[in-house]
Each structure stands twice: as structure tokens, then as C-alpha cells.
């Protein structure tokens, strides 16, 4: 009875007979056995390595030390990397919100069928390799690139603009990669908003703008929050786009970690940087998970 006194699993019966109870327990053990391989893999190759990383970060030559963390805040270069990372993540989130909110809103007002068709356009880049997309932007943005040549031919500029190997290139590339992560959760929430509420507001005398600002917008905020947090944490750990399209002085934390390991061979310092990044990510993730489940983003069915 103690087993069933707690919330029973789907399909669990009220178990009275001890024989039935034994069967139930045997079934639970068998189910746990099914979980074991995946769980072991994650424990050995994910949880344990990360815990070891955390431990490594607080050791210096065999004894406990916060030396590596002190370096992060004391050395100007590293502090600047931290600041750059947060600034870029914030800028990317803001731009994604600015572009993504109207798009999600527009899609949510369309008929389901049309919205699905247009969503495919959002999903095609989502499913395309980041390297392919970065290449495309390099073709478009470089000095002799498509955009510069068109602007010159149109007579709008005389000299090619610098749009790559600087902040602009990083922002364009990252927004392109992260925009779907803003649009999909925002759209999912907006589609669930009852349109009769807006009609009701308008019947009661609200102008369309008032109805939008006082009814629709607040109701869409969970989606906005979820999308923004997701974009922000994904942006913090970005490596490929800044490595290929960024300037030499505009370095993000993931690039610094790679450099510390591959060229400086300073694993503990990279571990400390990783720990900081992980801590920030996890805090935001916990907030995120409270707002909207993970499966809203990573599930196959987005509509």
C-alpha cells in the first residue's frame, strides 16, 4: 500500500494483493533497467567530466586555490572577454526580440495552414548547419562580397563597408542562428492566446492598439521571456560564429577557453572559465524551465 499511497504512475493500479504488489515492483525494476544504459552513458561522459572540471578549476598545483578565478577578475584581458561576451549576448537577444516578436505575432494571426508554410521558412535555416550559414554570411558580408559590390554599383557607397571580422559580422551571424529560438517559443505561446479576449476588449471600447498592449502583449510575455532566456544562454556559449566572423580583439568566452586549452595548454584556467559560464547558464536555465518546459523547443513538433 505504501507504494500506491504516493501518486501512482500512469496505468498503475491500486495494489492490494501482495502478489500484485510484487509484480508491480518487478515491473518497476525492469523499467529502471531500461533506463540504465542511457543514464550510465550520461553519468560517465557528461556528469562526471563536468564535476571533474569544477574540481580542477579550484586546484592549483595540487592544493585548493581560487587562483584561476582571481585571474579572471584581475587580468584586464579576461575581464574584457567576460564583458564582451555578456554585451554580445544581450545585443543578440535584443535584436532577436525586435525581429522575432513581430514575426511571431504576424504568424500567429494567420490561418494555421499559411502559418505552417511560413514556419518552414523559419525552420530551413534552423535545420541547416551553422557552418553553412556562416559561410553564406561570409560570402555576403566580406570586403569584396555581394552586399558591398551591390551597394557600390548602386552608387550608395564609394568604399566597401567593413561588415566582417568585427562586431557587426558577429551580431549578424549570431542573430541568424538564434532567431528561430526566439520565434518558435514566442509563436507557440501566442497561438495559445484566446482571440476572443481581444474581441471582448474591443467590444468594450478598446482601440486595437489598446487591446494589443493591455491584453495580447502581457499574455505573450511567457513566450517572450522563454525565447529571450534561451537565446541569451545559447549566445553566451557561442564559438563558431565569433571565431569565424569576429574581430581579433572582440573575443568571447568560448574562444578564450579553446585558446587556453589548445595553445596555452592551461586546462585549469579554462575549467574556471567554463565553471563561470556553466553557473550563469544553469541559473538562467532554472528560471527558463519554470516558465516553459524544454520540450517546447527541442521537440520535433513545433506547430
Amino acid at each position: 500500500m505504501t507504494v500506491t499511497a504516493r501518486r501512482p504512475a500512469v496505468g498503475a493500479r491500486v495494489v492490494v494483493d501482495p502478489r500484485m504488489r510484487r509484480l508491480y515492483l518487478r515491473r518497476q525494476v525492469a523499467l529502471f533497467g531500461l533506463l540504465l544504459p542511457a543514464l550510465l552513458l550520461l553519468l560517465v561522459l557528461f556528469v562526471y567530466p563536468i564535476l571533474r572540471l569544477l574540481v580542477t578549476s579550484v586546484y592549483d598545483q595540487g592544493s585548493f586555490s581560487l587562483e584561476h578565478y582571481q585571474r579572471i577578475v584581475q587580468v584586464d584581458l579576461y575581464l574584457r572577454v567576460m564583458r564582451t561576451t555578456f554585451t554580445i549576448a544581450l545585443q543578440v537577444t535584443a535584436i532577436c526580440l525586435l525581429l522575432g516578436y513581430p514575426l511571431a505575432y504576424f504568424l500567429s494571426t494567420l490561418q494555421a495552414r499559411t502559418a505552417r508554410l511560413l514556419l518552414i521558412l523559419v525552420l530551413i535555416p534552423f535545420w541547416t548547419s551553422i557552418l553553412v550559414r556562416t559561410y553564406a554570411w561570409m560570402v555576403l558580408l566580406q570586403r569584396q562580397g555581394v552586399i558591398n559590390r551591390w551597394l557600390i554599383e548602386l552608387g550608395l557607397i564609394d568604399e566597401p563597408l567593413r561588415m566582417m571580422y568585427n562586431r557587426i559580422g558577429v551580431l549578424v551571424g549570431m542573430v541568424h542562428v538564434l532567431l528561430p529560438f526566439m520565434v518558435l517559443p514566442t509563436f507557440a505561446v501566442m497561438r495559445g492566446i484566446d482571440r476572443d479576449l481581444i474581441r471582448a476588449a474591443q467590444n468594450l471600447g478598446a482601440t486595437p492598439l489598446q487591446a494589443f498592449l493591455r491584453i495580447f502583449f502581457p499574455l505573450s510575455l511567457p513566450g517572450v521571456a522563454a525565447g529571450s532566456l534561451l537565446v541569451f544562454i545559447l549566445a553566451l556559449g557561442f564559438f563558431i560564429t565569433p571565431a569565424l566572423m569576429g574581430g581579433r580583439t572582440d573575443i568571447m568566452i568560448a574562444q578564450l577557453m579553446e585558446d587556453q586549452i589548445r595553445t596555452q595548454l592551461n586546462f585549469p584556467f579554462a575549467a574556471a572559465l567554463g565553471t563561470v559560464l556553466l553557473a550563469v547558464t544553469l541559473v538562467i536555465f532554472v528560471i527558463y524551465n519554470r516558465l516553459l518546459g524544454l520540450d517546447k523547443i527541442f521537440g520535433g513538433d513545433v506547430s
Binding site: 557528461f46 555576403l140 524544454l294
Partner: protein, 286 residues
């Protein structure tokens, strides 16, 4: 006669509804919004599309529109063993990862949805966390232990590391279909004498197939596109396609990448379409 007042009232409500302009009438603000969204969609899609004509360019350097048609970049790709071997390596790794992750993922999903054991929430959190922990952290953490396990620069090492990243996709997709599944179907099969394995094979599996398909596709792509972990642990011998592309973009912008990219884009579009078809079919059956 008695229904008339009600009917009249109904008609009035309907008439009012029609008289009130629909909320989304073709107004200037609506047009402006549509135009803005068109631009955003163009921003999303144009770079992906522009790569395809570039890959058939006859020019030796980047130019758009391309001056003439040529297959030189495709020839270059298929004639150079550094490109083809990277492609083959990526397909081998991703295919193995897909199978491993799908099998482990289905098993774990059954346990997570049907089971009732202590610490399930914690296990759930552990299982989805590879989706959210920055890949660079996973990469250096795994790199840190692989040296001692002698798994650096091995095929199995890369496969296992990628499986860690791929399993969550399978679990998220399969548990979603399992939750929307009527358990009484399984109970009915078992009460009619089916063994647990028969029940799984003939009842559960066909019903959760769309979730499995989506999860497997995600798992394949998670591995096939993965660069950062591979960069740390694969080594020059086991170089994957993303690693080769990364090199090609870091040093100079090699136009061969346009050919590779076009093939990858075609592949993604095919995958997306087939996923859509599978879902439609499973919906019409349901």
C-alpha cells in the same frame, strides 16, 4: 413561432459580427507588419538560398550573380580526398550515433514515462541538460577525461561523445509521443495474451514511430553538424566534415564550401520534408 426570438437574436449577433470589421482588416499597419515580416523571413532564408547558385559558379573567386555555369567546385570536392574522407567519416559517425542514441533513447523514454521510481525528476533534469549546457563546456570536460581513458582520436570516443549530445533529442521526442498514448491499448494486448515484447513490437512501437523518427533525425543531425566536441577529440586522422569546413573558412574562404553547403542544404530540406510527411501520415491515420 417560439423559436423565432432566439433565432432573431442569433441572426443579430451574426450580423453584428459581420458588420464589425474583422480584426485583421487590410490596414496600413497590417501591411507594414507584413512587409517587415517579409524582410525578416528574407533575412533568414536568403543566405541559405544564395549559396546554391554560388556553388555552380564558373569564377575562380566569389562573385554574385555567378558569371557562368560550372561544376568545378563539385569536381574539386569529389576529387580531393581530404574532403571526401571527412564526409565519409561524418556519415559513419553520425549513422552510428543515430542508431545508438535511438536505441538508448527509446529504452530510457519507456522507463521515464512508465516507471515510478525515486529521483525521477533529477534523472529527467540530467537527461535534458546536454541540450542546454554550452557545447564548449561538454567539449573540454570530455577532453579532460578522454586522455586517461585513451579515447582521444578514436572513432568510438567521438561516437560516444556525440551520443551524449544526441540522446536527449531522442528522449524528448519519444517521451512526448509516449505521453499522448493510451496505455489501455497495451493493457488490452497483454490481457489478450501478448508478451511484453510482442506488445512493444506490435502495439507500442507503431504508435510512437513518428516520435522515434523525429528523434532519430535530430540525433543524426546533432552528430553530423557537430564541430566543437570533434575539434577537441577527433584529431586530424578522424577529421569530420564540419572540421574540414571550419579549416576551409578559417584560413581562406574556399569556394569548395559552396558545393558542400549546397549538398548539405538539399539534404536538410529533404529531411525536413520527410519529417513533415511522416507526421502528416501519422495524423491522418490517427
Amino acid at each position: 413561432m417560439t423559436v423565432q426570438p432566439a433565432a432573431r437574436q442569433g441572426a443579430r449577433v451574426l450580423a453584428e459580427r459581420q458588420a464589425r470589421p474583422p480584426r485583421f482588416a487590410l490596414s496600413w499597419s497590417r501591411l507594414l507588419l507584413a512587409a517587415l515580416c517579409g524582410l525578416v523571413l528574407l533575412f533568414l532564408v536568403a543566405p541559405v538560398v544564395i549559396v546554391i547558385p554560388m556553388s555552380f559558379s564558373a569564377a575562380k573567386y566569389l562573385s554574385f550573380p555567378p558569371p557562368g555555369f560550372s561544376l568545378q567546385w563539385y569536381e574539386n570536392f569529389f576529387n580531393r580526398s581530404d574532403w571526401t574522407s571527412a564526409m565519409i567519416q561524418s556519415i559513419r559517425v553520425a549513422f552510428t550515433v543515430m542508431i545508438l542514441a535511438t536505441v538508448l533513447g527509446i529504452m530510457a523514454s519507456l522507463a521515464l514515462v512508465r516507471g515510478n521510481f525515486p529521483g525521477k525528476d533529477l534523472i529527467n533534469a540530467v537527461i535534458v541538460s546536454p541540450l542546454i549546457v554550452p557545447t564548449i563546456i561538454v567539449a573540454i570536460a570530455i577532453y579532460g577525461i578522454y586522455a586517461r581513458l585513451h579515447l582521444v582520436q578514436t572513432f568510438i570516443g567521438l561516437v560516444l561523445a556525440h551520443t551524449v549530445l544526441a540522446v536527449p533529442y531522442v528522449i524528448v521526442n519519444v517521451t512526448a509521443t509516449l505521453r499522448g498514448f493510451d496505455i489501455r491499448l497495451e493493457q488490452a494486448a497483454q490481457s489478450l495474451g501478448a508478451s511484453p515484447i510482442q506488445t512493444f513490437r506490435y502495439v507500442t512501437l507503431p504508435l510512437i514511430a513518428p516520435g522515434i523518427f523525429a528523434g532519430a533525425v535530430f540525433a543524426f543531425i546533432a552528430s553530423f553538424d557537430e564541430l566543437i566536441v570533434a575539434l577537441f577529440i577527433a584529431g586530424a586522422q578522424g577529421r569530420t566534415l564540419p572540421m574540414r569546413m571550419f579549416e576551409g573558412l578559417r584560413l581562406e574562404i574556399d569556394p569548395t564550401i559552396a558545393a558542400v553547403s549546397s549538398m548539405l542544404i538539399t539534404f536538410s530540406v529533404l529531411v525536413l520534408l520527410s519529417a513533415e510527411l511522416v507526421r502528416r501520415r501519422s495524423r491522418s491515420e490517427a
